[in-house]
Structure formats: structure tokens, C-alpha cells
């Protein structure tokens, strides 16, 4: 579960390369996955749960790009059909995490002192609380499902982002432009609304992208521990979990879903880093 990370790294200092091939590749992959999520039947030759006991555990071939599993289901088709759920879990968790982070971060940065201290302390406790346990408990309480995964991951990643949001808001609050606006006689509400929030939250666009990749890795980790979506579902983590038992005989069952998860996390991170760079560029001379 080392995927759970406290805060986002600073933006890269230079554009990664002049022609960001990694960016193009990432966008290409995401576009492909978006199609897979919206219209899986366009890309998948078989149904996600179409059992064909006669072709169980076949290695990758032109007929079955990623091979088949123990019930003869086409792994490639399952990966494609699992995209929407995996992506939704990732996006949902990133969303939950950021919404929580913004609420906690804003409270910590903008409230009166006792409230701010209370919120700070709660974030600290959330940080100190083992994230895996948080997920385990949540799942034990509500039962494993995509939603539980969304909230478990979202809650687990929120404290890191909350700290970041708090820092961003404080930075904006202490910025020259806020002082300039104060000197112009603008009201607190107007300054908050016109300057502090927009500037503090703008980097979150990039963070959101970064967080999606992270959330998918994390959520699939929960599935892998058998704490995720019910197995016949082709969610990627569940595919990995199912493939684990066959790893010596049918390594493709583990290899391909894992590669897809890594590729997606990589793409999301790459896009996030580029976004971060372009958003930050406006702040540097």
C-alpha cells in the first residue's frame, strides 16, 4: 500500500522535453481507455463474463490477445470491460479525496484559531491512522463494493492533500496580491472569492490527474487483498487477485492487468506533471 502518498511533489522545473512524447502517449492511452470505458463493445471481441470452458487458460494469441482465464474468459475483453469501473473508482476516489482535502484544508487555513487547531489535529490523526486499517474497517462496516473502495481510498489519501490545500491557501492568503487587494479596501469575502480560493485551488487540477493514477493503484491493491469489487466483475484489481492463483501456469493473467494499471498510473502522473508545469509556469519569472 505504499501507493498512498501524503502530498504532491513540486512541479518539474523545466518542461520535461521539448516535444513531450510521454504526454502524447499518455493522452493517447487515456483516449483509448475512455473509449473502452464508454463503449467497451467497440474494442472487446467477447463479453466480460462469457464463460467458455473449452478454452480455459489459453496463452495470449491473436484470438485472445491477453490469453484466457480459468473459465475460458477472454482476458483482453475483461480488461476492456473493466475499464469503466476501474476508472470510475480512480476518478471517484480522487474526487472524494480532493473534496475532503479542500474542506479540511480550507477550514484549517481560514477558520478561527480553535477550529483550525482542531482540524489540523484531525488531519494529523487521519495521517497517523494506518491507511490500510481505515480501508479494512470501512470495508468491514459496509461490505466490499466499488463505492466502499472509492471512499476507503479517498479517505486514505485525503490528509496529504488536505495539508497541501492548507499550504496553498495560506500561501495565497499571505501573497502580495492579497495584501494589494486589502490595501485597495476590498472586503474579506471578495478577496477570498476572487483571489485566495481560485489561486489556491488552481493547482488541484493537476493534483487531480496525479491523484487518479495513485487512486487506481491503491484501489486495485484493495481488490488484490480481496477487499474490492466482487470477483466476476472485471475490475482490474479483481483481475489481478484472480490471476494470482494461476501465476506459475498462466502468468499472463497477472501480467496484463498489472501492466494496464501501471500504464494508466503512469499516464495520469505524466499528464498531471505536465499540467502542473503549465499551471505553475504562470507563477514563475
Amino acid at each position: 500500500m505504499t501507493a498512498l502518498r501524503p502530498s504532491v511533489i513540486d512541479a518539474p522545473r523545466v518542461a520535461l522535453t521539448k516535444r513531450p512524447w510521454s504526454l502524447y502517449l499518455s493522452i493517447g492511452l487515456l483516449a483509448f481507455l475512455a473509449v473502452a470505458a464508454v463503449a467497451p463493445n467497440l474494442l472487446a471481441p467477447y463479453g466480460p463474463t462469457a464463460i467458455d470452458y473449452d478454452s480455459a487458460l489459453q496463452p495470449p494469441s491473436f484470438l485472445h490477445l491477453f490469453g484466457t482465464d480459468e473459465s475460458g474468459r477472454d482476458l483482453y475483453s475483461r480488461v476492456i470491460h473493466g475499464t469503466s469501473q476501474s476508472l470510475l473508482i480512480g476518478i471517484g476516489a480522487a474526487f472524494v479525496s480532493l473534496v475532503l482535502a479542500v474542506i479540511l484544508g480550507a477550514l484549517a487555513a481560514l477558520s478561527v484559531k480553535p477550529v483550525a487547531i482542531l482540524v489540523d489535529r484531525s488531519v494529523e490523526i487521519l495521517f497517523a491512522f494506518p491507511a490500510l486499517l481505515l480501508a479494512l474497517l470501512l470495508i468491514a462496516i459496509t461490505g466490499p463494493s466499488a463505492w466502499t473502495q472509492v471512499f476507503a481510498v479517498g479517505l486514505g489519501t485525503a490528509p496529504g492533500y488536505a495539508r497541501m490545500v492548507r499550504g496553498q491557501i495560506l500561501a495565497a492568503k499571505n501573497s502580495g496580491y492579497v495584501e494589494a487587494a486589502t490595501a485597495l479596501g476590498h472586503s474579506r469575502g471578495r478577496i477570498l472569492h476572487e483571489h485566495i480560493l481560485p489561486n489556491a485551488l488552481r493547482p488541484l487540477v493537476a493534483v487531480f490527474a496525479l491523484s487518479i493514477g495513485q487512486s487506481i493503484v491503491w484501489a486495485s491493491g484493495l481488490s488484490f487483498l480481496g477487499l474490492g469489487v466482487a470477483p466476476p466483475s472485471p475490475e482490474w484489481g479483481a483481475l489481478l487477485d484472480a490471476g494470482r492463483a494461476y501465476v506459475t501456469q498462466a502468468s499472463w493473467l497477472l501480467l496484463f492487468p498489472g501492466l494496464v494499471i501501471v500504464a494508466l498510473a503512469l499516464s495520469a502522473t505524466s499528464i498531471g506533471r505536465h499540467l502542473q508545469f503549465y499551471l505553475e509556469k504562470g507563477r514563475r519569472t
Binding site: 470477483p231 466476476p232 484472480a242 506459475t248
Partner: protein
């Protein structure tokens, strides 16, 4: 490899099949080539680490079997043979059993194995010492009385001719009375004091449990292969949860034997020269019980339709790679005495018949291929204890069940229930589920009593997972339990199974297996016949 057809007919026998024909069925066989090493350590890798050595889990029974001696043992022909008890006798009215103990046997704490200790153990089990033993004795056990130093009498409230058979299970290991009384719960949990072939030396939690040879062992069971202390000095139970890792560890000689060989690895290990042992656990097989109290399955036709919609044999054969035996009987498995083949063959794959029955019951197919009745869809909830009661292979099989049932218009909600939730009572009531999955190992068809005894307000039976409180079935089983004559008893048990099949109260899916893979240099590890646990008393290593 698949189970020979004929083997299923030998129902009363506990089937022990080794992959190599030479090792087949007989523990006496398999003495290998090579020089026997005196002493040595066997590293054995099971998948699950229990909380205590002694307790109600089958994993606990397996360890207990090597550490504690029971009164009696079951041989490969399912005959009860002497162990701590030299002889035993059932009274004519069947209401009391008298066990005569071997003389001169001592617990490893130096106290004697006597009638007092045995009687104490019976009371200990039923008052919470072992919840599974308690369930077995429930409803029959009255008291245990000390007749003389070596004679103990068990008084029953109703005849139970198969009592001795049941006592062969590891749940009934006899512990030192002195230890139970004077030592802490913690000590009795992690290192119970018995009179067995091995003594718990140390338990490195999360890693391994080390058993050391009882040098003063005198009370081997009658079906053991040798006399005197065990050959090996130590047995290292090294807990390895992941099946792939277990197999790999065996292949790299890090361990000498592993438990629960994944079906998909069976052939590889077979080809690699490993000795494979498979024990089809007697008792309730992995089966589906329908909720007969609430929901669509209150209609017998719907239950039958579900059964007809499945090609259970094909699913099990494919996922189980021919290793996991298909079991059609929803009452008891093929290795259980009193097994009914007729009950097992009651339903075969017949989707048309299923459709017909559903039509008849008023469930009409809608445009989406789902059945509806009065605006309600034919949706059934099938929760299962993922990773606890149903393993990975089992989950794959249930996915096949879901897929096939949905072909005829069912919607199956397959819900993996985490252990915490499951054992806290989730999905345990009739309102929450339509189908229950589960197995229960046993030595006799007496398991039917546990699973099908009708609930009464005074004495609810929560193990009756079909919620089928039927006097007729209940009486049939009660009669069988107390039938003095074995043939009569088997006949009655078979009738009960057929009753269950006819009314489609439960259908079998596959028989639970206990499998071992043993390295070529380890010999005479045998699976005890009550539950299929590995027995290391006779085992020895060669160069």
C-alpha cells in the same frame, strides 16, 4: 487426473487417492528407496495459521491430531480402532458408552491419562472448550462418569450408535486435566498438553509452529504403521498463505510437504515426482442451500429450475482441472458412509426443463432475458465467505454457477463476504440471502442432523441453512442417528438425502478436498481418515 468413476460407488470408504498408484490408499505403501534418516525435521507448509492449537477449526483439528491423542482412531476402511481407548462398548439401550483406557499412558506434563481426565475433557468441550466438539455432542451428551481409574462412561439422552466414529475427529483430542485447570488460557491455547506423538515446542506467530517428538510416546493408534516414538525429531508447521508460494517452496526444497495443492499445479507436481495425496472429506460437501422460508426459492419448482440450469459437473471439472471431484449430492459427500448416489444424480444439466419449471411457476422471461413475476425480477442473493469458507477455486466455480443460472433468466448477486462480516453474522438470516454456500466436515452422515434438524423456539438450529423446518425430514434423520443396525442406518440416511434432493433443498457442487504434496525424500506421511489431516507420526526422511 480425474476420479475413477467406480470410486464413487465405494461410497462408504474414505477415499485416499495418491497420485502414484503405488501409494494408493494404503498407508503401509510408499516406503521409498534411500536410507532412512534417524530424526530430522520435516518442514510442512499448510495455508492457514489458527489462533490456537486446539479449537473448532479444521486447521486446529489437524494440528491437534499430531499433539493430542483421541480415544479412538479411524482406519482406512472407516473402521473405528483403538487409540487411547483399548476397547469400548455401547449399552444395549444405546444410552451409555463405556471406554476402557490403555494402562500406563501419561500426558507430557507427567499426569496420567485416566478416566477422570477423559471425563473432564468431555465436560470441557461442551462448556466452551471446543465449539465444534460441542455441536457434535449437542442433543445427545448427558454426562461423563468415572467408573474406575481406566474406565469412563458416557451417558447419552438418546442412542447415537456412531458416537465412536465422531470421536475420531481432532476436535476430541484429550488434554491433561491438570494443565487445563492450572495453566492459563494462553498456555493451553498455544501449547496444549496431551499425550500425543509430538509436543508443541515453540510457536513463532506469523511464521511457524515447531513440534518436537514425544520421546516417551506409548499410545499410538492401532492403525499406525510403527510403534514407539515418532521417527522424525521435529515437525515445522510453516504457515504459507499463498498457494503459489507453497508449491514453489516445495519445488525449491524449502519445505518437504505442503497442504492444499492448487488444482492447476496438480499435474506439474505429479510430473515432477512429488507424491500427491488427496482425501475427499466426508460430511457435507460444498453445496448450495436454498432459502425455503422467504423469497423465490420457497417455490420448489424454482429451486429445481435452478438445479437444472447448471452443468455443475462441467464447471467443476474445468475449474478443478479434474482434481476437484464433482459432487451432486447436497446432503453428504461421496466419501461419507450412507451416501446416496441417487440423490447425487437427481439433477443434470437441462436448461429446457429449467425454463419449463420457471414458466410453470409464473416467472416469465422479459426482453432482457431476465425472468419476472408480478413486476419483480428473479433476483437471488448468493453470499459466500470469500477466502474463508470458499477458496479461489470455489469462487471461480460459483462464477460459473452465476453465469449458467443467468442463462435461464435468474439474476444472481454473487457477494463475497469478508471474514469479519461473515462471522459477525452477516447474511445469516432468511431475510438476507437466497442461497447459502458451505461445507462441514464429518465422519458420518450424522452431519445431516446438524444441518437439517428443524428449528424450534426452544432450540433454534442456526445451522439449518435452508431454514427448512420439516418434521418428516427431521424424524428421518433422528431415526437414522439412533438406528442400531448399520445397514438400516445407512438406508435411512440415504432416504434423507433423497428427500433433500427431491425437494431441491440443497444441491451439491463439489466435494471438499484435503490434499497433500510430499517431496520424494519424505515417506509415510498419511492423511488421517476422519478429516484428512496430515499425520507425521510414521513419517521419515531419506537421504
Amino acid at each position: 487426473m480425474s476420479l475413477p468413476r467406480s470410486a464413487r460407488l465405494v461410497a462408504p470408504l474414505a477415499i485416499v487417492i495418491a497420485a502414484s498408484l503405488a501409494a494408493c490408499a494404503s498407508p503401509a505403501a510408499g516406503s521409498g528407496e534411500g536410507q532412512r534418516i534417524d530424526g530430522g525435521t520435516i518442514v510442512y507448509a499448510p495455508q492457514q495459521e489458527p489462533a490456537c492449537v486446539f479449537g473448532g477449526w479444521i486447521e486446529q483439528a489437524y494440528i491437534s491430531y499430531n499433539v493430542l491423542d483421541s480415544l479412538v482412531s479411524l482406519d482406512e476402511n472407516s473402521q473405528v480402532v483403538p487409540w487411547l481407548a483399548e476397547k469400548w462398548e455401547e449399552s444395549d439401550d444405546g444410552l451409555s458408552w463405556t471406554f476402557t483406557l490403555k494402562d500406563g499412558v501419561g500426558f507430557t506434563d507427567g499426569t496420567p491419562v485416566n478416566a477422570e481426565a477423559v471425563a473432564y475433557n468431555f465436560d470441557y468441550w461442551v462448556t466452551g472448550g471446543n465449539s465444534t466438539a460441542r455441536v457434535w455432542l449437542f442433543g445427545y451428551y448427558e454426562s461423563a462418569e468415572v467408573v474406575d481409574d481406566l474406565t469412563v462412561r458416557i451417558n447419552l439422552s438418546a442412542p447415537y450408535p456412531r458416537l465412536a466414529d465422531n470421536l475420531t475427529q481432532g476436535y476430541f483430542g484429550i488434554q491433561s486435566k491438570d494443565a487445563l485447570e492450572t495453566r492459563s488460557d494462553e498456555d493451553n491455547c498455544s501449547a496444549p498438553i496431551g499425550s500425543g506423538a509430538f509436543i508443541v515446542e515453540e510457536w513463532n506467530r506469523g511464521q511457524n509452529l515447531v513440534l518436537v517428538r514425544n520421546e516417551n510416546y506409548t499410545s499410538w493408534p492401532a492403525n499406525a504403521l510403527h510403534e514407539g516414538p515418532a521417527y522424525v525429531e521435529k515437525v515445522d508447521w510453516r504457515f504459507v498463505a499463498d498457494a503459489t508460494t507453497r508449491v514453489a517452496a516445495l519445488q525449491s526444497s524449502e519445505v518437504d510437504a505442503i497442504y492444499d495443492v492448487p488444482a492447476v499445479q496438480w499435474k506439474t507436481l505429479d510430473d515432477g515426482g512429488y507424491e500427491l495425496e488427496r482425501y475427499v472429506t466426508a460430511g457435507r460437501p460444498q453445496q448450495l442451500s436454498f432459502n425455503t422460508q422467504i423469497g423465490p426459492f420457497t417455490d420448489e419448482r424454482v429451486r429445481q429450475a435452478f438445479a437444472y440450469s447448471l452443468d455443475r459437473e462441467q464447471i467443476v471439472e474445468t475449474i478443478g482441472q479434474g482434481v476437484i471431484p464433482f459432487e451432486g449430492n447436497g446432503g453428504v459427500s461421496q466419501s461419507t458412509p450412507g451416501y446416496s448416489q441417487a440423490a447425487a444424480d437427481r439433477y443434470t444439466y437441462d436448461p429446457e426443463k429449467a425454463a419449463e419449471l420457471l414458466d410453470e411457476a409464473g416467472w416469465q422471461l422479459n426482453a432482457d432475458g431476465v425472468r419476472e413475476k408480478d413486476g419483480e425480477t428473479l433476483e437471488v442473493v448468493l453470499p459466500y465467505g470469500a477466502g474463508s469458507i470458499v477458496n479461489a477455486d470455489g469462487a471461480a466455480i460459483l462464477q460459473g454457477v452465476k453465469e449458467q443460472a443467468e442463462q435461464v433468466g435468474f439474476v444472481v448477486d454473487l457477494i463475497p463476504v469478508p471474514q469479519a462480516e461473515l462471522f459477525a453474522g452477516a447474511y445469516s438470516t432468511a431475510e438476507e440471502r437466497d442461497i447459502a454456500v458451505g461445507y462441514w466436515t464429518a465422519v458420518t452422515s450424522g452431519i445431516l442432523y446438524i444441518n437439517w434438524r428443524p428449528s424450534t423456539p426452544e432450540s433454534p438450529n442456526y445451522s439449518n441453512q435452508a431454514f427448512y423446518d420439516d418434521e418428516e425430514l427431521g424424524q428421518l434423520i433422528l431415526d437414522a442417528n439412533s438406528a442400531a443396525d448399520l445397514d438400516t442406518q445407512n438406508e435411512l440416511y440415504q432416504q434423507a438425502q433423497e428427500y433433500i434432493a427431491d425437494h431441491a433443498l440443497a444441491i451439491g457442487v463439489y466435494a471438499r478436498l484435503s490434499t497433500l504434496a510430499v517431496a520424494p525424500n519424505l515417506h509415510d506421511v498419511w492423511q488421517e481418515h476422519a478429516q484428512g489431516g496430515p499425520t507425521f507420526y510414521d513419517a521419515y526422511l531419506t537421504e
